[in-house]
Symmetry: C2
DNA sequence: ACAATAAAAGACAACAGCGTCTTTTATTAT
DNA sequence: ATAATAAAAGACGCTGTTGTCTTTTATTGT
């Protein structure tokens, strides 16, 4: 729709690991995938990527798993989108032309530009901490299973 | 990004056929594809689909081609999106959960819902005639080649 | 040291979106 | 009737996304 499914999985994974109740411990991929209803090995690769980028952490072996550190709460959605999808997803022409350009706009450009700005702002301003808060307060859920 | 590339091609194709200078005549796929910089046979199938749905028309043989009739100008972008992509594209959960639901929202739901409403409104209100007008006035272009 | 554990890594499969190429069918003009 | 034309239809290939499965590597506890 806007970001890839993979990127959505990444965001949900990071938020889950950043919940108050989880941030102190390491959690195995089996539990995370089960909780979020995401294919295990697929999510595994996604989180591995985030580990490589230094956004989250992991240790192998018994009692190992994935975990986050406190600064993660300041991480913005944009940071994750950058890593997983890249920014090009926000720069394409709405009507599938080669390039989106304000100098030579397509018929939907203006309408779309404002919408895109809105999304970009949201990405830039929303932090993992914000999303964690929503889940902690019970207003939102990560799994989709009520 | 939001709609498929295919759908963008469809919209551009219909708008092109609906320009004042084109609406009176039939235009061959070679010329349309050339003008819009879209792969010919691919665009061909897309337009064929629109013909089957009764949105545009075509005749085969010498001096045949694709053409539109006047009521096309009242057609909304939403009408085309419905035909090409379907409405499901506007109903997916932003974070890749099984379903988007207001009763059981994901952490990005509210932010995204307002953005989605904006897109939906645009789709509902913008007509082919509106886009034609932009192109006719020289404010916007279809090809992307200045 | 050794066995158990869990992430990391690799290979591979299914699928959809996008695109190309060829053959068929309908229409027109001669 | 016949030939030329152009859309319609079909087959196929490429690529990126999504997902599954197996093997390897690092860590821990005994
Ligand atoms: S030129 Fe099409 S969205 Fe900007
Ligand atoms: S539940 Fe995720 S966007 Fe609505």
């Amino acid at each position: 729709m806007v970001i890839s499914k993979t990127c959505g999985y990444a965001i949900r994974g990071v938020v889950f690991l950043s919940l108050d109740q989880n941030r102190t411990k390491k959690i195995g991929i089996v539990e995370i995938a089960e909780e979020l209803q995401i294919p295990q090995h697929f999510l595994s690769k996604i989180l591995q990527n985030l580990v490589n980028k230094g956004l989250i952490y992991s240790v192998r072996g018994p009692h190992g798993g994935f975990f986050t550190k406190e600064p993660i709460l300041k991480t913005t959605i944009l940071d994750i989108v950058k890593i997983v999808d890249g920014l090009s997803v926000l720069k394409k022409c709405f009507l599938g032309r080669e390039e989106c350009s304000s100098e030579n706009p397509c018929p939907m450009h203006d309408e779309f530009e404002s919408c895109r700005e809105g999304i970009f702002d949201t990405f830039r301003n929303k932090t993992i901490g914000d999303l964690v808060q929503g889940v902690e307060s019970g207003e939102t859920t990560l799994s989709g299973i009520a």
